[in-house]
Subunit: 301 residues, 2 copies
């Protein structure tokens, strides 16, 4: 199994990037990821205000997927997210949804053991997830720092990007150029203080292609749901984009009128907050597979 | 069992209102509610653009709860929400999150049978809920149309306000003056097109009081969670309020520092969208009882 080591990182998703590895469709490989601080914080005395900010949010890659061409969809199955023994969480004045109430920076080191992590005597079940995952953006949209989410993916900070899920991306450039990092042992919807339980990890993935099908925003498939993951300057803009495409998929997938698809969305779609703390905000529009029971969402596109 | 009939309605939650019924703490009673159109739409040929808008969002009540005094908390247990045989959903140009894409008003009548409703050949499980429920606002905040959510409750359109849940309200006026309406047979988080499956209903409730305890926003208790339900001009403002009080309850309930409570929120709290289509937007900050395992959230306040 190919392993892409954690020293091969990018800080910007650019339209043109040089790959550090090549993989084939159907290939299983492992990506070593850094935590969002590139491992700079090792003890509680170290505050985030002291770290080198040019090394925040490294994403390991880019990985060239053979045969991926602009106009395809890249399918990324998440097979495993390995947990280390420790994670870190921080607060910073001005950061997170209550940033103006934060008087000083603080760091907590969090023990992780099996299926739980430990914080202030509380035993918290882990829910491992990938914060940053994306592909090269299109020439039109241009480059994005790894800390920002957009149509190419990036810092989507979406809890459902977890083991057993599949993430679909629009392929904008030859080889797709996948990169990922910023895993969390646990994070709540919103990531309200700006950080989850930040960890380095080894992520096992399998990639594949859906040829000549177009999506606008990343889509996450779970056992029960299709999720359109959209971002915007604020939650309202992100919501509008996510719902717009959810309604479109219901319309084409169920062969009903746009108006009926819009009504149906209001009854069965859950609009969920992913994160409210990154440069763009992210939501996901969740369609139950019990309603849209396509073998794949893309067959009707 | 006392029954409050559906012709006794208000359209504004006012600080001073005359009650239509009095109930005692621990008393079980039934409230007949109208759908949000006051039953004006009975067939698909009737468009929402033709209804009398002065009769939108009626709330049955107000109900005076004996012994409720300003500075108490009103506890409302939802014991039953009866479903009628039909519901209605509408679209209106300019309304909902994709309002500018709606070309014409449309009405769909939805059959309800047992645990399911039927829309366009789809069988949708019902999830009965109360859209509008609230108490008299304080003299300071003044009156609110029943279509708006705020600190007194109102049009919170929150899915978890359902059978088996308990809703807690700040008591602002003698007798609390509870009123409710706008039930839905099914609605998704967001209520994106502006309506759910709108129904009239008979709602069975039990009220009680928590004396001399103060909350700022309504709180919903489910089997597994405490939910702070906050509203604001946009989702960001609503989110900030909801998280602010969630962090406060974690701080006082777990006796940890504010900074640690803020970090903990980022790991275990889910910030969920309730609705994005009313005059104020509503979110709920969801704290798992597995983390905040108080018998009641209020004992430490």
């Amino acid at each position: 199994m190919k392993k892409i080591s954690s020293d091969k990182v990018i800080y910007t998703f650019k339209p043109k990037m040089e790959e550090v590895e090549k993989v084939l469709p159907d290939e299983i490989f492992q990506v070593e990821t850094n935590d969002c601080f590139y491992g700079q914080i090792k003890k509680e005395e170290q505050l985030v205000t002291e770290v080198d900010f040019s090394r925040i949010n490294p994403a390991t890659g880019p990985i060239y997927v053979e045969n991926a061409e602009p106009g395809d969809i890249l399918k990324v199955e998440i097979l495993d997210i390995e947990l280390p023994e420790k994670g870190v969480i921080v607060t910073v004045p001005g950061e997170g949804i209550l940033g103006e109430m934060v008087e000083r920076a603080k760091t907590n080191i969090i023990e992780i053991d099996g299926d739980f992590c430990y914080f202030n005597g509380l035993k918290i079940p882990v829910t491992p997830m990938i914060g940053v995952i994306g592909v090269a953006p299109s020439d039109e949209t241009g480059e994005y720092p790894t800390g920002s989410p957009w149509k190419h993916g990036g810092n989507m900070d979406t809890k459902d990007i977890t083991v057993g899920s599949i993430v679909y991306f629009p392929v904008n450039q030859p080889g797709a150029l996948l990169a990922l990092g910023d895993c969390h042992a646990v994070m709540g919807d919103g990531e309200v203080c700006v950080a989850g339980c930040e960890i380095n990890s080894k992520v096992t993935l399998k990639v594949n292609l859906i040829k000549r099908k177009k999506i606008e925003w990343p889509i996450v498939e779970t056992k029960d749901s299709w999720m359109i993951v959209a971002s915007g300057k604020n939650l309202e803009e992100a919501s509008k984009e996510a719902v717009k495409y959810a309604v479109k998929y219901l319309e084409t997938g169920l062969k009903i009128s746009w108006d009926d698809a819009y009504m149906l969305s209001s009854m069965i779609l859950d609009l969920k907050i992913s994160q409210v703390v990154d440069p763009n905000k992210t939501v996901r529009a969740v369609i139950p597979k019990s309603i849209l029971s396509l073998r794949n969402l893309f067959e009707k596109l």
